[in-house]
């Protein structure tokens, strides 16, 4: 039972001015951190950072992380977790490339295959969580480990490369109107996922299940089914990221996508502090991913030591989420 109506955040009209300021920080704190980052780097690196090319470049770098993180957002919105996304991305890359090498399938078919892989793993996650009643963290850790096993069984653990990767590489390197395809994919998918989450019955049901599963169940929402759907969407996005990653280099490795797991979590949590009070949403996740990319880009351009990169990334995450969170608490106390 998760009925927690204890938030004593109070009615706005009668609030003192300080509360309004805090409230503003609560909403825009994370965006403020992003803005400071952009302005700061623009001053330090005016000729390389603040250019149109670099802007497109940053968007392009964000695309793959964004796709997997937006998928993860669906699991998080529904109140679940998915620790298998990194493994799914790896699996999808390896299986699709192996199949392209062995069976010589076309790129659209490979993309379909990726979607299928993601859907199957997502379905398994969902079924273990709903039918076996296993905590999502355990279930997805387990299924993710199984996915690694399948990955090894398929390609024996060795990297898979395409003999003639030309047109496959174009999938992520190609440009339209000077903008790389992945940017279109990211934005298109963001639009679709935003619509699904905010303008469909399924999306509302997911939010309801995440907000109060008991209430959702009692109001006739088929909670288990909604959960399974969330895992499936999450899996599909992870698999798409996997095949796009493979397309970047024309090859896929057994743990190629693993690093996306924590990156996607970081982005989604950062995003939950963007404009909302700790709720996950598609737009926020997108901002989260872009903030992380901007940060990384800034560090690389300024040329900081390795340890600065990590210190900076860690602090960015804490501050981005913390400023808003702290401000909201103060707003409530004021």
């Amino acid at each position: 039972m998760t009925t927690t109506f204890v938030d004593h955040a109070a009615v706005t009209a009668t609030r003192p001015a300080s509360a309004r300021v805090w409230r503003w920080f609560g909403r825009y704190g994370a965006l403020l951190v992003l803005a400071i980052l952009v302005v700061g780097t623009s001053i330090l690196e005016p000729t390389t950072f603040a250019t149109y090319d670099n802007f497109i470049n940053i968007l392009n770098q964000s695309a793959l992380s964004a796709i997997i993180a937006m998928g993860l957002t669906f699991a998080l919105v529904t109140g679940e977790f998915d620790l298998s996304i990194g493994n799914v991305a790896s699996l999808s890359g390896v299986v699709c490339l192996s199949t392209m090498v062995d069976k010589d399938i076309s790129i659209p078919v490979a993309l379909l295959l990726a979607v299928l892989i993601g859907a199957v793993v997502g379905l398994l996650n969902g079924l273990v969580v709903t039918l076996m009643n296993v905590n999502a963290l355990v279930a997805t850790l387990g299924i993710g480990t199984v996915a690694v096993g399948v990955n090894y069984a398929v390609a024996g653990g060795t990297p898979v490369g395409l003999p003639d990767p030309g047109s496959f590489i174009q999938l992520t390197l190609g440009r339209f109107l000077g903008i790389p395809y992945p940017v279109y994919m990211m934005l298109g998918l963001a639009a679709i996922l935003w619509f699904v989450l905010n303008r469909t019955v399924l999306g509302q049901s997911m939010q309801a299940v995440g907000g109060n599963p008991v209430a959702a169940q009692l109001s006739g929402i088929r909670v288990d089914r909604v959960r399974v759907f969330a895992f499936v969407i999450c899996g599909i996005c992870a698999a798409l990221t996997g095949i796009l990653l493979a397309s970047r280099t024309g090859s896929a490795a057994v743990s190629g996508g693993d690093s996306y797991l924590l990156a996607a979590f970081a982005a989604a949590f950062f995003g939950s502090a963007v404009l909302r009070d700790g709720e996950f949403h598609v737009l926020g996740t997108l901002v989260g991913v872009i903030t992380v990319s901007v940060g990384f880009n800034a560090i690389a351009l300024i040329g900081l030591e390795t340890y600065w990169q990590y210190l900076f990334q860690g602090l960015l995450l804490i501050l981005g989420v913390g400023v808003g969170s702290l401000a909201r608490r103060r707003a409530a106390a004021a």
Binding site: M1, T3, T4, F5, V6, D7, H8, A9, A10, V11, T14, R15, P16, R199, T200, V201, L202, Q204, S205, Q207, A208, G211, N212, V214, A215, A216, Q217, L218, S219, G220, I221, R222, D277, E279, A333
Partner: protein, 523 residues
């Protein structure tokens, strides 16, 4: 409305009516505990059937079975004459059943509109929401209720009574033929309750059958046409409401006579005794403004007020749960400014919070763990050890002292009935040995029997020298107090001695009207 009149006539006619809902021979076990045994009810269109029984009698379980939230071990359900199987909430929805469940079942982060729309299957074409249609429908429902909650306000920002209105609104979003309401008025003021009765009248006039659950027996007798009483999961009997009065209904429910709330009689008037707590100009905008009060040793001080008067906020300030804006307090002659409930409990001030499930209990923990929770304190300066054996012994004593009905002190409190849960929350704080115990709505959702037992506990504590501050919206029960304060819009507006603390007088003071005008009010 000639149709409605014709319908009314029909309802009075002695011909056997067609039933819209019949539950026959329903049984349900929870892990060996028989919650329902061979219970049958029957409800006719356009009538109100009240379900009465003590806490844990099985009322909610019966409703939850009907809603598809639990499955019955045995029994059949007929809706409009045909036998149905309800295995999930959506089955119930499809059959035209609608519910207000006992526990608030809203999504806190959703707006009122989103909550009302939740589960409305046909949201639009191809699964896409038709926001405009939903909003129109929600507005219609609100018009019908005659009460407007801002549709775009988030539920977590709404007052408790508004939340219940949203819950009520949701149950009316679909055109249901049967509506089951499980304690809908527990958090309502009299005025809001009256509005609900109006809605019920309207629904029954449309031929909707209402299943109604409440522990407020006068209300039951006012609203219901028929009353079915359960005791320990078994049917006691079904009665016409007109055959019953509060005393006889109480007898059916409890199986014995319960004396009404009586005024407190003490040998020495505690209000003349030594002072324990004084509060000067306590303020926390916007809900608490310049509150001053004095509480004596062994005194039971009541706080009356409408919902939203700021009583809960005041209580939270007294235990340091929220930061104080301005003002000062002294406890036992010494300055008292608690910065957390920890400080308060250390100083001997404890609060029994108003929402027992979310604020009072750890539902999956055992009775003994919950009872011991407020007495866990490191002895100054060293690591305190914890002895489960001692905890169990203390819990056993408390269980018998407070009359808590449980199969064992190891049972999870989530499985107990509401009244027993409430006794555990009270008991937990009593075991902490406070000099001042604040109780916020201690009897909401508690049955008549358990209620008088809670009064006994309170009186016993006061007799032992503990001071009591009791917040209540049920003005009748304030009769156990020595003195009653009235709060309105964040300030204390009156202090009434026990002898004058009648229900009507308090109500009038709460509304800020003088008692003469109120007494003319035909309620």
């Amino acid at each position: 409305m000639t149709e409605a009149t014709a319908f009314d006539d029909l309802a009075v006619a002695p011909v056997p009516e067609p039933t819209c809902l019949e539950m026959t021979g329903v049984s349900k076990q929870f892990g060996g505990h028989q919650a329902l045994e061979d219970v049958s009810i029957s409800l006719s269109p356009g009538r109100v059937l009240a379900l009465c029984g003590a806490n844990g009698a099985g009322k909610s379980t019966l409703v939850r079975i009907l809603a598809g939230a639990e499955s019955a071990d045995a029994g059949t359900i007929r809706v409009h004459g045909s036998e149905v199987a309800i295995s999930a909430p959506q089955d119930a929805t499809r059959l035209g059943l609608s519910f207000i469940h006992q526990e608030l079942n809203l999504v806190p982060k959703f707006t009122a509109l989103q909550n009302m729309a939740m589960g409305a299957d046909r949201g639009g074409r191809a699964g896409v929401l038709d926001l405009r249609a939903l909003r129109r429908k929600a507005q219609q429902v609100q018009d019908r209720i005659g009460y407007r909650v801002p549709l775009d306000a988030r539920v977590e920002d709404l007052a408790v009574s508004d939340r219940w209105m949203v819950s009520l609104g949701r149950s009316l979003m679909r055109d249901a033929t049967i509506v089951a309401m499980d304690e809908p008025t527990a958090s309502f003021t009299k005025e809001e309750a009256e509005r609900l009765y109006g809605i019920i009248d309207e629904l029954t006039a449309d031929g909707v059958g209402i299943l109604y659950i409440s522990h407020r027996l006068e209300e039951v007798l006012q609203v219901a046409d028929d009353v079915t009483v359960l005791r320990n999961g078994r049917l006691v009997g079904s009665f016409g409401a007109s055959e019953l009065d509060v005393a006889s209904l109480t007898h059916h429910i409890v199986g014995r006579d319960v004396e009404g709330v009586t005024h407190r009689v003490t040998a020495v008037d505690p209000t003349q005794g030594p002072e324990l707590l004084t509060v000067e100009g306590l303020t926390r905008e916007p809900r608490v403004r310049d509150v001053s009060l004095t509480l004596h040793r062994g005194e039971i001080l009541g706080v009356a007020g409408l919902v939203g008067a700021g009583r809960t906020e005041l209580a939270r300030l007294l235990i340091g749960a929220d930061p104080v804006g301005s003002g000062s307090m002294t406890l036992d002659g010494k300055p008292y400014h608690p910065r957390s409930p920890y400080d308060a409990i250390k100083a001997g001030v404890a609060l029994v919070p108003e929402e027992r499930r979310s604020q009072g209990l750890i539902l999956r923990n055992s009775v003994s763990a919950n009872l011991g929770m407020a007495s866990l304190r490191d002895p100054a300066g060293k690591v305190g050890t914890y002895s489960p054996r001692r905890a169990v012994r203390i819990a056993r004593e408390a269980v018998s002292r407070f009359g808590i009905k449980t199969s064992s002190v190891h049972e999870a409190v989530g499985e107990l009935s509401g009244g027993n849960q409430q006794k555990i929350v009270v008991g937990k704080y009593v075991l902490a040995g406070p000099q001042l115990l604040i109780l916020d709505e201690p009897t909401v959702g508690v049955d008549v029997g358990a209620r008088s037992e809670i009064y006994d506990i309170i009186r016993g504590l006061a007799a032992g020298g503990t001071s009591i501050l009791m917040i209540s919206s049920d003005f009748e029960e304030l009769a156990i107090c020595d003195r009653v304060l009235v709060m309105r819009e964040g300030t204390v507006t009156a202090s009434v001695p026990a002898s004058r603390a009648t229900k009507d007088h308090l109500t009038a003071l709460c509304f800020g009207t003088d008692s003469a005008s109120h007494e003319q009010d035909p309620s």
